[in-house]
């Protein structure tokens, strides 16, 4: 047994972003095995991604924002005390006492208490309806209060203020921003950048008041906010106020304990993050770094975390030191890219600005160059694509003239500036301080993330990382086509190609033309042709003509192949709703054909163990009872699950069952790059698990929220909110567009979740296209879906009606009446299961 008493104790106060990074750094250095580590956390939840706090309003749950792997604390034996802040530090006794009254004796104390939002001392600042924007709890409170509010005002037009304004806008409040300085984001951007930003933000319907201060928050008779008086004497009526007027380091514990603090706050530390008491460290936003600055960004905090961990673990070789960091940031504020890096304001003596501005499109770009031509810094608004490249170039003389760094591509000579031109020592990922050399040593993005952590912070470096990794070379679908699935879709659509053979012969790779293709492209092209069939004027039946040869066996036999060569049949039960009569028919069919039955995870009933020659007879029984067989195979719509919803459930606010049935009937038979699943829940309790689906719908009092890109399976992912409070008609129209856009652009076997993660611009881009019609495609997407719906036919019933097609449902071409004798079953739990021992007998020949 380890002797706990002789182990040194490290007490960490604050479990925010930097606190957690510090714990990881301790674990990486093996210190957690040698010391007792106690963490006092004021918030009711473990560390989460504060940088992405606002994504809560895009549907990300607090759990998804967590930065802590579920078993992290256990694995490293760390004691985490939630909801119990440190109240006092006694340096003489070396103890920390928590609010709950627990006292810990420390050998080393680490302060990681972050900042608090500064609220200017105006009268009324504490009224009901006044908020700050720092924690998940703040957001929950704002969200709740906004339900009864119509107008919201944000005090402060900086980075955080604009984020808060975006959130209020998202909550559908009439939103105002009040900024004391003459421009928005005064710290990050210059006047030109601020003007570009202002224009774009006003275009979005926000009202911006610059150059005015807030004098008073006024309240009604109940003490709730009803307006603000501004320094120019004007009055702004508002129901809710968010203060975002800067942050201040939380240094009270240190002050009370007599540690040295800065004049304007911050616990003073040296290069190794040690405070004036050598047993006490301070890291993150609460620290006043050795260069005399307090850093309000996460990347410098992470560097301090590594530095302190090195010092505590007594790392001597290449130990980190923190002597300062640059304040480069790239953000997406209200959909506008904003970046600033290096000496953004041109403070260095003798430096010059090179500026490109196009206020029509809200683009403003400036680089600052030194007298020797070295790039010193810059500001990018509206188009920050170049950020990933420019930041690591800072400090060196760029390989192209500076004007090419800001001119849009195609104007003047194209900027021949790729990451290839960066030196190996250039820091590409500033969150985790990773150089180009370290990234180039990896082969794939997952490897980069695992080995160097690059790209796992703010994500702004991902584009450059992608360019640094060896190109996977050939992005072609398979050995037969050099095109991707999306490209083939476009070829089939625009050239109206109606057969696989002609596509292969005209667009296949050199050696593949005239051949038979392969098992990868055949079903892929079959699916593309099937999804476009109504539009191309084809019958679209999957067993017709050439199509028959292209389908996977499941599509060919319209059922799921099982391990012993038999098939399963899953009658469609739209929305999971079924009458007793139909339940009885399923039971009777299963009994009569000796099939194994099981309730599936998709709210239907699977019938297993049918031989090929039995399939039509089973469908016949089902069709006559009013069923159609369903797709439990096939890259097509599977099920739309439902919860019981408003009709029965005391919580339900909409008829989720009806909506699920309508959607399942609308999209059944739709061929896609991968399977499609959906679910509809009658209220936020989400009993149908809609957020695990490719498109999930959750009822609200006003209508429906639509979530997209969910996935169960091997890489589960919760769906993201695409749009809220839709009426029935808008919901269906939006799903139509979403699905058709996915079908058009996704890769083979790429679920919506992977597709959203891959495509440039991600969810925002998809929202632009399908909600705001940024590509002018919506009309066409809706038309494609209308064609699909109008052209839908029951594939199984059609097969039964066609003797030519029925000919295929025999086990043997030369003995049509003979069943396959190798499909055998043995009993299990009152039903049957495949007789596998019989199959695995080598050389078995059935007689």
């Amino acid at each position: 047994m380890p002797d706990t008493t002789s182990r040194p104790t490290i007490v960490v106060v604050g479990h925010g972003m930097v606190g957690q990074r510090f714990l990881e750094a301790l674990a990486e250095r093996g210190t957690t095995g040698r010391a007792r580590v106690v963490v006092l956390c004021e918030e009711p939840r473990p560390a989460y991604d504060r940088v992405r706090l606002s994504s809560y309003f895009d549907g990300r749950t607090p759990d998804e924002l967590s930065l802590v792997e579920p078993d992290f604390m256990d694995r490293h034996g760390i004691e985490l005390l939630l909801d119990d802040p440190a109240e006092t530090v006694d340096r003489a006794a070396r103890t920390v006492t928590s609010r709950a009254g627990l006292t810990f004796t420390y050998d080393t104390l680490v302060l990681a208490t972050g900042s608090y939002p500064f609220v200017p001392p105006v009268p009324g600042r504490d009224a009901t309806g006044c908020f700050v924007y720092r924690t998940i709890e703040d957001l929950l409170a704002i969200e709740e209060y906004a339900k009864t509010a119509r107008t919201g005002a944000v005090v402060g037009g900086g980075l955080l203020g604009l984020e808060a304004a975006g959130a209020l806008k998202g909550l559908e409040l009439d939103t105002h921003v009040v900024e004391f300085a003459p421009r928005l984001m005064p710290v990050q951007v210059d006047d030109g950048g601020g003007a570009a930003l202002l224009r774009t933000i006003e275009d979005m319907g926000l009202t911006v008041h610059t150059g005015v201060g807030t004098q008073e928050v006024t309240t009604d008779e109940r003490g709730a906010v009803n307006g603000m008086t501004l320094s120019d004497g004007s009055v702004l009526a508002t129901d809710l106020v968010v203060f975002s007027a800067g942050i201040r380091p939380r240094d009270r514990l240190a002050r009370d304990a007599g540690l040295r603090v800065g004049e304007r706050g911050g616990v003073a530390v040296d290069e190794r993050c040690r405070t004036s008491d050598p047993r006490i460290f301070a890291i993150g936003e609460c620290a006043l770094a050795a260069d005399g600055r307090v850093y309000g960004l996460v990347a410098p905090g992470y560097e301090m975390a590594r530095t302190a961990a090195d010092a505590i673990a007594e790392v001597t070789e290449n130990a980190n030191e923190f002597t300062g960091a640059d304040l480069s940031t790239k953000l997406k504020l209200l959909g506008v890219d904003v970046a600033s890096f290096g000496d953004a304001h041109g403070a260095a003596p003798g430096c010059l600005d090179v500026v490109y501005a196009d206020s029509r499109s809200g683009v403003y770009k400036k680089v600052v160059v030194g007298p020797d031509g070295a790039l010193l810094g810059g500001v990018l608004v509206g188009d920050a694509d170049a950020y990933g490249m420019l930041r690591p170039l800072t400090g060196s003389v760029p390989p192209v003239p500076p004007e090419q760094l800001v001119l849009p591509p195609g104007v003047g000579a194209p900027a021949a500036l790729g990451p290839g031109s960066l030196p190996d020592t250039a820091v590409v990922c500033s969150c985790h301080n990773v150089t180009k050399g370290a990234i180039a040593a990896c082969a794939t993005l997952p490897e980069v993330k695992k080995c160097t952590r690059a790209g796992t912070g703010c994500g702004s470096c991902l584009k450059v990382i992608g360019q640094l990794l060896p190109a996977s070379g050939d992005s072609g679908l398979c050995g037969c086509f050099k095109h991707t699935r999306g490209e083939l879709y476009e070829i089939v659509r625009t050239l109206r190609v109606t057969s696989y053979a002609s596509l292969l012969d005209s667009h296949g790779r050199e050696g593949a033309r005239g051949g038979d293709g392969c098992e990868v492209c055949k079903p892929t092209v079959a699916s593309i042709i099937a999804s476009l069939a109504p539009t191309l004027g084809l019958s679209g039946h999957v067993l017709d003509g050439e199509q028959a040869a292209l389908q996977d066996t499941n599509d060919h036999f319209l059922a799921n192949l099982q391990r012993n060569g038999s098939y399963s049949i899953v009658p469609r039960i739209p929305g999971g709703e079924i009458t007793p009569e139909k339940l009885i028919v399923i039971g009777e069919v299963a009994r009569d054909f000796g099939l194994y039955t099981k309730i599936t995870g998709g709210q239907r009933i699977d019938l297993f163990g049918a031989r090929v020659d039995q399939l039509p007879r089973i469908w016949d029984r089902l069709v006559r009872a009013g069923f159609e067989s369903g797709h439990a195979y096939g890259k097509a719509l599977r099920t739309v699950k439902s919860c019981v919803g408003q009709t029965w459930c005391r919580y339900g606010v909409q008829d989720s069952v009806k909506m699920a049935i309508d959607l399942e009937l609308r999209y059944r038979g739709l061929r896609a790059p991968h399977k499609l699943k959906s679910a509809v829940s009658g209220c936020a309790r989400e009993c149908a698990e809609a957020r695990g689906k490719d498109f999930g719908i959750i009822a609200t009092a006003e209508g429906w929220n639509l979530y997209v890109g969910g996935n169960g399976g091997a890489e589960p992912r919760h769906a993201d909110l695409l749009a809220r409070d839709l009426d029935d008609e808008s919901l269906v129209r939006l799903i139509d567009r979403f699905l058709m856009f996915y079908i058009r652009t996704a890769d083979r076997l790429e679920r919506t979740s992977a597709w959203l993660g891959r495509i440039e611009g991600g969810l925002d881009h998809v929202r632009d296209v399908v909600v705001h019609d940024s590509l002018g495609l919506c009309g066409e997407l809706e038309k494609l879906m209308a064609d699909h719906v109008a052209g839908y036919r029951d594939e199984w019933a059609e097969t039964l009606d066609d003797p030519e097609r029925l000919r295929r449902f025999v086990s043997f071409v030369n003995a049509p009446d003979a069943p396959d004798p190798t499909v055998r079953f043995v009993p299990e739990r009152d039903q049957v299961k495949p007789d596998l021992t019989f199959l695995t007998l080598e050389g078995v020949t059935a007689r």
Binding site: G479, G515, R624, P819, T822
Partner: protein, 131 residues
């Protein structure tokens, strides 16, 4: 709603494996002799069918786009199931193959060799089409 008459479940045994052949037939070489299995018109380019041999073995028959015919054992050696006839066919470097519909291993249709595992081979049969 339509009604359909289906053949009964009980197999006729033993089946007459060469009944009703007319016109061009596909033949397999079995122990030195040619055995007619089916009309050539029963084959679809790019898709297989299964046939029963007199000794109870099953073969998978294929035709490619150029009209060449192939026959290999129907048994997927990986699962033991008689399913190779239901796989997707293709061409790689000019050679025809079928991918098992279960776990997708590919087999060369001329040599029976598994393209994904050198140690596995399935039986192949010579074929010809006669009238």
């Amino acid at each position: 709603m339509s009604t359909h008459t289906m053949s009964p479940v009980t197999p006729t045994s033993p089946p007459d494996l060469t009944a009703g052949l007319v016109g061009a037939t596909l033949q397999l070489r079995l122990g030195g002799a040619w055995f007619p299995v089916c009309d050539r018109s029963a084959l679809i380019a790019g898709r297989g069918v299964a046939a029963l041999l007199p000794d109870g073995r099953q073969v998978a028959l294929f035709m490619d786009r150029a009209g060449r015919t192939y026959a290999i054992d129907n048994r997927d050696p990986y699962s033991g199931a008689q399913v190779l006839s239901r796989g997707l066919t293709g061409t790689q470097d000019g050679r025809a193959f079928v991918a098992s519909p279960l776990l997708k291993q590919r087999f060369d249709l001329e040599t029976g060799r598994c393209l994904d595992d050198d140690s596995v081979t399935v039986t192949v049969y010579a074929t010809r089409v006669t009238s």
